[in-house]
Subunit: 140 residues, 2 copies
């Protein structure tokens, strides 16, 4: 993230130490949980309440400044990278999460043939599997 402060102002959000710190933490630790981020912020600015972390993450997510992903069996993860329609790879055994570009430029996944009258605004894709590290561990 280039300039967290400018980003907040662009979205008419009052600039606070907590928001700046959370925004930087998300930027520096992609795919971190709210708890991870709270820890990270605390080492940076000393203290922050749990509620504030959630408040900030919610408002930033609502404004589209960050993106929330919620894989099964995991608390929500946050990332900086928005607006480029990428998806995620998640390791079933260790939870490691990585970005992947959409399979094909045109994003065929984004269009269901029979959409049952739903107005679709997003197609979320999660690839489940085993990461390289865990593959090695499981081969004795």
């Amino acid at each position: 993230m280039r300039d967290p402060e400018a980003t907040l102002r662009q979205h008419d959000l009052p600039v606070t130490a907590q928001r700046l710190a959370v925004l930087r933490a998300v930027s520096q630790h992609p795919h971190a949980t709210a708890d991870d981020l709270a820890e990270s912020v605390r080492t940076e600015i000393g203290a922050i309440s749990r509620q504030s972390v959630y408040n900030v993450l919610n408002v930033l997510t609502d404004k589209g400044i960050i993106r929330r992903i919620q894989p099964a069996h995991s608390p929500a993860l946050y990332e900086d990278r928005v607006g480029d329609n990428h998806h995620h790879l998640v390791c079933r055994s260790c939870g490691k999460t990585e970005d992947v570009c959409c399979a094909v430029g045109e994003a065929p996944c984004l269009h269901a043939h029979d959409h049952r009258g739903f107005r679709i605004d997003e197609a979320e894709v999660i690839y489940w599997g085993t990461c390289p590290g865990c593959q090695q561990k499981s081969r004795p």
Copy 2:
């Protein structure tokens, strides 16, 4: 589900009233939550503990007899229909969930180009949008 009892035996699972009732409930109420299913089972066999519902759902899911889907902002949903690689449409406003066939027979969604060394075993796709009913409500 044709024959719940046979299904359990095929998977070496002792047959119990609770398992049969949960299995039937899942079959009759696709996309129901654990709580919904508990309610349903209670009207059928009188009583079941919350823990047993979870036990049964977990063992059935592990054996691949039923499938668990976990959309964001929702408790887990269970369904009967397994092994046909279909996906889901979820309404952002009322949570209504419907099945959709994979966009193309060959399931292009299942293959990420750059899989980062992960061994992928499933591609989960959730289409987020607004269902027909909620579209009408929001148009005054």
